[in-house]
């Protein structure tokens, strides 16, 4: 890979990073919102470096006639290995594929991985607004907060409360019912974890459509930790257009 190709590759890579952050919100499909500024900075740095390399290369071309012959020695240390061409793959990914956020497919294929959230013995650490809400008030919650409450809260404060969840529809494996699911991301889509609840009281909508669902937790009998998946009885639901940040 010669220097011109290296410079152009860097410019394209920078352009891909900037396109997905500044021009569009594509980056939210892959990384956390807070990561945007870093991507912009990296995109600018790569584009500037690429332009500098191209300019230096063009300038050398102009001076070449008198320098030719001498210059061949030692100049080719600047060739990059063939593997560097692979840097164009993320560029193709952004501009041609524009990968969407993970959705129903990922939830279906990681079916077995869903279980109770991490044992967190301290119960004072729920970050939902359930305790502060007035009795009878509808509490908006992330699905993550909901399943955490459902699995860990031995006091079962969730019982009987009306809750509002937002997520996408995923048909269950047997095709009978459906889940409302949302992916939780620690850092990037590669580490996304599935949170889901089984919905009852409403017919299954099309997979990957987004819904805001109001209803109640179906309180299980017996030990909370023995429950494999939690149920949710729908009172009312409405379709929503994709939220700008598809992850929790």
């Amino acid at each position: 890979m010669n220097r011109m190709a290296q410079g152009l590759t860097l410019v394209l890579l920078g352009a891909a990073a900037l396109t997905s952050t500044v021009a569009t919100d594509l980056y939210l499909n892959w990384v956390k919102p807070g990561f945007g500024p870093f991507l912009i900075a990296a995109g600018v740095a790569m584009a500037v470096l690429g332009v500098l390399v191209i300019v230096a290369e063009l300038r050398e071309t102009r001076q070449e006639p008198e320098a030719e012959g001498v210059e061949h020695h030692g100049h080719d240390h600047s060739r990059a290995p063939g593997v560097a061409w692979l840097l164009l793959l993320p560029v193709v990914a952004v501009f041609v594929v524009a990968p969407p956020a993970l959705g129903a497919y990922t939830v279906e294929t990681t079916a077995g991985a869903s279980g109770p959230p991490p044992d967190q013995p301290r119960s004072g650490r729920f970050d939902d607004g359930l305790v502060d809400a007035e009795p009878g008030e509808v509490v908006p919650m992330h699905i993550r907060q909901f399943v955490m409450r459902a699995w860990i809260d031995e006091e079962r404060l969730l019982a009987g409360r009306e809750v509002e969840l937002t997520g996408f529809a995923v048909p269950t494996a047997d095709g009978q019912g459906w889940y409302l699911a949302r992916l939780q991301m620690a850092c990037c889509a590669a580490d996304a974890v599935v949170n889901k609840v089984v919905i009852s009281g409403a017919p299954a909508p099309e997979a990957d459509t987004w819904w805001r669902v109001r209803g109640r937790w179906i309180e299980p009998e017996g030990e909370l930790s023995d429950v494999s998946e939690h149920g949710f009885e729908v009172v009312e639901m409405e379709e929503v257009t994709d939220p700008p940040d598809p992850y929790e």
Partner: protein, 360 residues
């Protein structure tokens, strides 16, 4: 239809011949020393050719964007593409940061400065390098080029390698992330710090004792004394970016493929077995190649596994994983990686069992 197929086939020649060449040649050889293939051709022509190639590539992408985007609806393919793009873009800022810092070290810090700070005896330099890894925020992607430039600056290779292992494992951001993920379990943070530092230093000492200089392809690039520092900075950044960046993509491809292909159900069936579960999570850490800043959140989500197994996931991940192996191969050569990666794995596991047994 026919023009659609040609349009997406167009960029292919750009990848395949050069990749094939590199594979056939063997990664170890110094590509730089070979005579360039187009020896004798005028460079100006070559450059024009490159520009045309890129123009063609961009046109092909525009056509692909117009026609192919609608066609690409395979669920598994899209999930794979999302994870690949996510890994690439997550790592990119860290890579750029690491490469810039490494280039700044090369260009602006004279070799004498290292000798002042880091003891010249390798066996003493190793622990110093290990502890200094706790100071620099950055992930694996950043530390590989930095370690390369430390070696160039005259730091003993073993000490630079210890830094390479310690920096992504125990830096402040990673420690904070671990504390957030394992809230209420400070012993996990302590165990991670201890086990990772121990493993890094022990690996450094083993390298001092048994390591051979010719296993390591030194990233030697001497710049003429007359060159301006900014030019050295630019050239060094370009070089590291191209070398480490290409391999980062290789690692991202591998990790995305495994992420989509390997069903996680079978992991859960082995979670109960004490030693096997530790080995399985170590293997998972190697395959998934998650950034060290994020791995604690993944570890905490693997609820069925024992604390020691989770510790193994967090100790092994930052020192051996597919992405790291590929990047190290780009900077130091395959002869090095073939010895270093197994060493890291074995020492990392021993350290995990020891610290996990004592603290968890």
């Amino acid at each position: 239809m026919s023009d659609r197929t040609t349009s997406d086939a167009a960029p292919e020649p750009a990848f395949s011949p050069s990749l094939g060449d590199t594979l056939a040649r063997g990664w170890d050889e110094r590509v730089d020393e070979l005579p360039p293939e187009d020896w004798g051709r005028r460079r100006g022509q070559r450059r024009t050719g490159t520009v045309w190639l890129f123009a063609l590539f961009i046109t092909a992408m525009a056509m692909g964007h117009a026609w192919l985007s609608e066609e690409l609806t395979g669920q598994a393919f899209l999930a794979w593409a999302t994870i690949f793009t996510a890994i690439s873009f997550q790592a990119l800022p860290f890579l750029v940061f690491g490469v810039a810092l490494s280039a700044a070290l090369t260009a602006f810090v004279p070799a004498s400065a290292y000798q002042r700070f880091i003891p010249s005896r390798p066996s003493r330099a190793v622990p110093v390098a290990g502890v200094s890894g706790a100071l620099l925020p950055g992930c694996e992607c950043a530390s590989v080029p930095i370690a390369g430039s430390l070696m160039k600056g005259g730091v003993a290779p073993a000490a630079a390698l210890t830094f390479l292992l310690a920096a992504p494992s125990i830096n402040p951001i990673v420690m904070i992330a671990t504390a957030v993920a394992f809230a209420g379990q400070p012993e996990m943070v302590l165990a991670r710090f201890t086990a990772s530092l121990l493993a890094s230093v022990v690996i450094g000492w083993i390298w001092v004792r048994f390591g051979r200089a010719d296993w390591l392809r030194p990233p030697a690039r001497s710049h003429g004394p007359g060159e301006s520092r900014w030019k050295v900075f630019r050239e060094s950044m370009l070089h590291d970016m191209m070398h480490a960046g290409g391999y980062l993509v290789v690692g991202g491809l591998a990790a995305a493929t495994l992420n989509v292909m390997v069903p996680r159900e079978w992991l859960l069936t082995v979670a109960g077995a004490p030693v096997i579960s530790v080995l399985v999570l170590s293997l998972l850490a190697i395959l998934l190649s998650i950034c060290s800043e994020a791995d604690a959140f993944v570890a905490v989500s693997l609820t069925d596994f024992s604390p020691t197994a989770k510790l193994a996931f967090m100790v092994i991940g930052p020192i051996v994983d597919l992405k790291l192996i590929a990047m190290q191969a780009g900077v130091f050569g395959w002869r090095f990686v073939a010895r270093f990666a197994p060493l890291c794995l074995v020492v990392g596991l021993l350290s995990t069992f020891l610290v996990g047994g004592l603290l968890l």
